[in-house]
């Protein structure tokens, strides 16, 4: 049941975030296998062999001014210094460096909790730091240490295991993937006769890739994408074999070897089919992995094939007039800017172009664009699962206020072009009783799309 009815009620809430005991079996059982010696060896291996000037500069430059605090939605939501970015570094890497890796299992337990569940790696704080220090990187180093120690929250570790065994994050078996595509193709033929989801077509202009949850839980998004691609008369394809999932929880657990394996498979899957470019569905973290982190881990400066997020693609469809709409979506909408594609890639103006092309009434959320608050789900935090859900939703209080404010101006629908944002916002909307509807751009475009004549 919701607890709040408005921004005022949230602000009046006397409850402070109380540190609750978090019992996560991935962390607790992982700790049982540690010794002080192993902790010290792993920490020093990561610090000495895998970090360098970047970590040293960040740690040495920070003057502990606390300016980063107002950049963090955890701090803004919970008003507790320990949730400030600098506070999180203090609870993790500063202590580790000060003690040269001689820290206890209890310390690792708390540090893992901070790094995996109290920082969304959203990089907003870097914009508020006078030196531009990137606390997300420091938290990633902490996660890398925890991965190598085998102390990772159970749910996200399971997802990383799925990636390693299946090359997708949802344990989707090879046949289930193909069967889902064929099923969605059949469904979409109700809208467009003889519509195809062409499998393994060589030389296509577009290799369309999605994240694991789409075939598992949100297959209608594949259906919608197929209808849009067909309406735009695209020469496109999807692969029948692993390599189709562009997502990457290994990037967030700190399993960089697996991240490399995933990204290589994804790129090669598209390149072996001689596709001109990869168009990705509406996912933020996957874009970060494909466009920024994973490709560079493999020694590419940029992706070896052009990578286009759904926002760029939809914007192009409207700019080039490749699709037509019957009428504009007539309910007032607001827009959530996902961190990885706004701060990470600067797609926020394109997103507004799509809103203008598709929606009759647009109400801005404030702050917005690269200053927008994270949904509290990103960076793998939502993937840490139920043990951390309540704490995650508490940290979304700042977001709830934003939503209430947009709602007060008339917004009924929140567009969030990112899967994790959807998960996070859904929980926030439900918990705080915001009562707004969530949609992807794909939902809106599909709803108003003028279908080609049969």
């Amino acid at each position: 049941m919701s607890e709040y009815k408005s921004v005022k009620e949230i602000e009046k809430d006397p409850k402070k975030n109380e540190s609750k005991k978090i019992e996560d079996q991935g962390i607790l059982k992982g700790l049982e296998q540690l010794t002080p010696e192993k902790i010290e060896i792993v920490i020093n291996q990561v610090i000495n062999d895998e970090t360098g000037a970047r970590l040293k500069v960040y740690v040495d430059t920070c003057v502990h001014c606390g300016m980063c605090s107002k950049g963090c939605h955890f701090f803004l939501s919970l008003n507790d210094p320990k949730f400030s970015p600098a506070g999180k570094v203090k609870q993790t890497l500063w202590e580790i460096l000060r003690k040269k890796g001689k820290v206890s299992t209890e310390f690792i337990k708390d540090a893992a909790t901070v790094a995996y569940t109290q920082c969304n790696l959203c990089k907003r704080c870097a914009m508020y730091c006078p030196f531009g220090l990137d606390v997300a990187y420091v938290m990633s180093v902490m996660r890398r240490i925890c991965h190598k120690l085998g102390v990772v929250p159970l749910y996200i570790q399971d997802t990383a295991h799925s990636h390693s065994a299946t090359m997708n994050q949802m344990w989707v078996k090879d046949d289930e993937w193909i069967d889902t595509l064929m099923w969605q193709e059949e469904e979409a033929q109700e809208a467009i006769e003889n519509l195809r989801i062409p499998l393994d077509k060589e030389g296509a202009d577009i290799f369309y890739s999605v994240i694991g949850p789409e075939p598992k839980f949100r297959a209608q998004l594949i259906f919608q994408a197929a209808v849009i691609m067909n309406a735009a008369h695209e020469n496109w394809t999807m692969p029948s074999m692993p390599g189709w999932d562009n997502s990457d929880m290994c990037m967030f657990t700190g399993d960089y070897e697996m991240m490399e394996r995933l990204k290589r498979r994804h790129f090669e899957s598209a390149l072996n089919l001689r596709a001109k470019r990869i168009v990705m569905g509406e996912c933020g973290h996957a874009f970060r992995s494909v466009y920024d982190v994973g490709n560079r881990a493999l020694a590419w400066k940029m992706p070896p094939i052009e990578v286009v997020h759904a926002i760029e693609y939809y914007n192009e469809l409207f700019e080039q007039k490749k699709i037509k709409i019957k009428k504009k979506f007539d309910r007032p909408v607001t827009l959530h800017d996902p961190c990885n594609i706004s701060r990470g890639r600067g797609l926020h103006e394109m997103a507004r172009n799509i809103v203008k092309a598709t929606c009759a009434e647009f109400i801005e959320m404030t702050p917005n664009r690269e200053h927008n608050y994270c949904c509290s789900a990103g960076g793998g935090v939502i993937n840490c699962g139920p043990p951390f859900k309540n704490a995650r939703v508490e940290s979304g209080k700042a977001k709830a206020k934003q939503l209430f404010a947009a709602k007060a101006k008339g917004a009924e629908v929140v567009i969030a072009p990112c899967h994790n944002c959807h998960g996070g916002l859904e929980d926030i909307i439900h918990h705080y009783g915001v009562d707004m509807e969530l949609k992807f751009f794909g939902d809106i475009i599909y709803e108003i799309l003028e279908l080609p004549e049969l």
Partner: protein, 420 residues
């Protein structure tokens, strides 16, 4: 490619099919497939009952469909011996069909159709949520809860795949870490289980299998026939067998850099930012690999000597000439594709390019490429012949004097033999 030397290498041009007749007849036509010898063209189509079938045409004949039609058909391919194979479903039961003859055994789903060079056909199969491999209509005796990465041996007698040998539920992360995966060869698993297995690869004599494995989050090995190398690495890529002796190489990562290891020891001692797709000369005496000697700069290394030339984006499809004296690959640089041979790039650049093909004597190299919306053939860096709307990869004649061009111009599919 069977009977390769008996193909028609004399007729300069044959008009095999006019596809306008297909378009009038069928409301739905999928991608065209051309036989290796170029004499036939085929596609999955829907018939007047809107059922899936296959249409095929050869020179002098009208287009013909298979007698059988299906609820669904996909993955149509010509086998290396130029039979036509597809995966077909009737009333929810999936089978392989070759030249309109379906296999006896049916499954709830089949996929990942693979051939050996003689045309043996293997598929991964699922029945009642259990997984196996079917080789020429003979299924493995054992089934597994999960199966990926199926491969067929060069002699076609064996199939192998990564299988879940110890059933593990989602969320059993500590059980997973103990090792729940193995390799099954013709359905029989190795004695050992690993945390993960990837990249199964048969030796040329079909008697051995090498794989990449990890036994913990930070111990990666190469394993051969179930036994790991003595040393672990922080990561590894795909292993490859030497074609001439019992020996395996694999890219391995140590201290953040990549090396080529041979039989467990570092073999190429030069550190690379990346190294993969190592491959042997036909006699096994030389090894080449795609490497990044600098971050973001790619080239080919031959016996650990990188070419001087660097490319910014990508290298692929590397191969030795049949005589082992030449090495070629495709590259992508500043958004354009090209071909590099023995350290030199061809002058011409393309929008897209397909696998390069050496002539049998190694003196010519040809590629299919796409530029400005049309397909062409380039031979030794020069564009030959006309432009096409679609094109299959070129094939050299056995005597190296001609190239077989299989291309679509408008609605006309032609088979051409072009003298070099």
């Amino acid at each position: 490619m069977s009977n390769y030397d008996k193909w028609d290498w004399d007729t300069s041009k044959k008009k095999v099919a006019d596809l306008s007749a297909w378009k009038e007849k069928f409301p739905y036509i999928e991608e065209l497939r051309v036989s290796h010898d170029g004499e036939k063209i085929a596609a999955i189509v829907k018939n007047e009952d809107m059922e899936f079938t296959v249409c095929i045409q050869s020179e002098g004949n009208d287009p013909e469909t298979w007698e059988n039609s299906y609820d669904k058909a996909w993955n149509l391919q010509f086998t290396p011996d130029d039979r036509l194979a597809a995966l077909v479903s009737d009333a929810g039961e999936w089978k392989v069909s070759t030249d309109d003859e379906t296999w006896e055994n049916g499954y709830d789903f089949i996929w990942n159709m693979k051939f050996n060079s003689n045309g043996n056909i293997a598929v991964s199969a699922q029945k009642e949520l259990l997984y196996s491999v079917v080789n020429n209509d003979t299924p493995w005796e054992n089934e597994f809860s999960r199966l990926t990465d199926m491969v067929i041996s060069p002699d076609g007698e064996k199939t192998a795949a990564v299988v879940e040998s110890v059933p593990v539920l989602e969320s059993e992360i500590f059980k997973f870490r103990q090792g729940c995966y193995s390799i099954a060869v013709n359905g029989e698993t190795w004695d050992k289980n690993f945390m993960n297995i990837w990249n199964p690869c048969f030796s040329d004599d079909s008697n051995h299998i090498a794989v990449s494995v990890r036994t913990s989050y930070y111990d990666y090995y190469i394993a051969i026939d179930g036994e790991t190398w003595d040393k672990s690495f922080s990561s590894v890529w795909e292993p490859r067998f030497s074609p001439s002796i019992y020996s395996v190489t694999a890219p391995v990562k140590r201290g953040g850099k990549w090396y080529l290891a041979k039989d467990g020891e570092i073999f190429w001692d030069r550190p690379y930012f990346q190294l993969w797709q190592q491959f042997y000369s036909p006699d096994g005496t030389k090894i080449a690999a795609i490497v990044a000697p600098e971050f973001g700069k790619w080239t080919m290394a031959l016996d650990n000597n990188p070419w001087e030339i660097r490319f910014s984006e990508y290298l692929s499809d590397p191969l030795f000439s049949p005589d082992g004296n030449g090495v070629a690959c495709l590259f992508k640089d500043k958004g354009k594709w090209g071909v590099a041979v023995d350290g030199k790039a061809w002058d011409c650049l393309f929008d897209m390019v397909w696998q390069p093909v050496f002539s049998n004597n190694g003196s010519h190299l040809a590629v299919k490429f796409k530029k400005d919306g049309f397909y062409h053939i380039a031979l030794n860096g020069n564009i030959i012949d006309e432009k096409y709307d679609d094109l299959a990869n070129p094939i050299f004649s056995p005597d190296n004097s001609s190239i077989l061009v299989r291309g679509l111009q408008g609605s006309s599919y032609n088979r051409k033999v072009i003298k070099i």
